[in-house]
Symmetry: C2
Subunit: 157 residues, 2 copies
Amino acid sequence: MAEDRKRLLEWVERAAAFCIDEYAVPPIAGRVLAWLMICDPPEQSAGQIAEAIGASRASLATSMRLLIDAGFVRRRTRPGQKTHYYQVDDDAWERVIRRRVAGLAAFREITAAGMELAGSDPARTGRLRAAHNVFDWMDKAFASMPGPQHEGEVDER
Amino acid sequence: MAEDRKRLLEWVERAAAFCIDEYAVPPIAGRVLAWLMICDPPEQSAGQIAEAIGASRASLATSMRLLIDAGFVRRRTRPGQKTHYYQVDDDAWERVIRRRVAGLAAFREITAAGMELAGSDPARTGRLRAAHNVFDWMDKAFASMPGPQHEGEVDER
DNA sequence: CACAATATTCAGTACATACTGAAGTTTATA
DNA sequence: TATAAACTTCAGTATGTACTGAATATTGTG
């Protein structure tokens, strides 16, 4: 129904705004991601997506590649069809966040190198050590993060 | 010594690159932040910083405001001086990250609204619920994160 | 108040990003 | 191989961002 579609698009705009602001995702890619999080069916073609969010198909090519590279979206083809279908997996956000936190490990190395450079005076290295500790904690915390919780969705236990 | 300064600046460039890439901080602000993490003394004037990283003082005004708004840097004045002194606190990164995670709470509300919109079919809301769970976990994990560890130095290199 | 030292704002430039229409390329059938 | 329906690339435009020098405002001292 058209009314449902309108509400869905309002939600898409809201969720896209979040992705754009907090995750530095370009506007159209943000809309695509948001749309793919709530659309039905979950797998959709570029044409369907472009039509839904009101963007050109050319933009879709770039946006889809970006979202795929970022780990948000997966592309599937069906035998005997030229159309590609895109979807966000249930564990997309978890995967993306894990990847991002893993990238933060680089900063631990940088702070370690910095402390070595700055010498042994604790007053001088306090800033670096504190930063180091934070990223170290994050890394450990995420290592022990529970995996995807399908329980709530599949069986209600 | 000039040699030390050179090494410090190499480190600054490295740390700045990280802030620029992973934290979407503009180049000069990234250098300022990196410099303030390792400079001695920790409190420095805009003039000193500009000279150290080779940027104009005009840029410093904008960059400092950005870093202060983001919570990275604190500005102090000394009685009887027109100069402002800037520094990063030991707990700067922790504060910034906490603030960022708090911002993610907004997404929990969005996913919740999305699930309501999408109806009660678990197959349809799986994507949303999984995302919801991730952000929920993050929020709780950070709530229990240990505070700044000023007490004793844990490991030393 | 006048002066000097610092800080901020402003206009302009250079560069990068996001998007689109049109042209070109791939893919699956017959 | 021809064809039709999809996908991708490209050139161009519009918009936004980062930075600077020059001008203006603020701050503390004598």
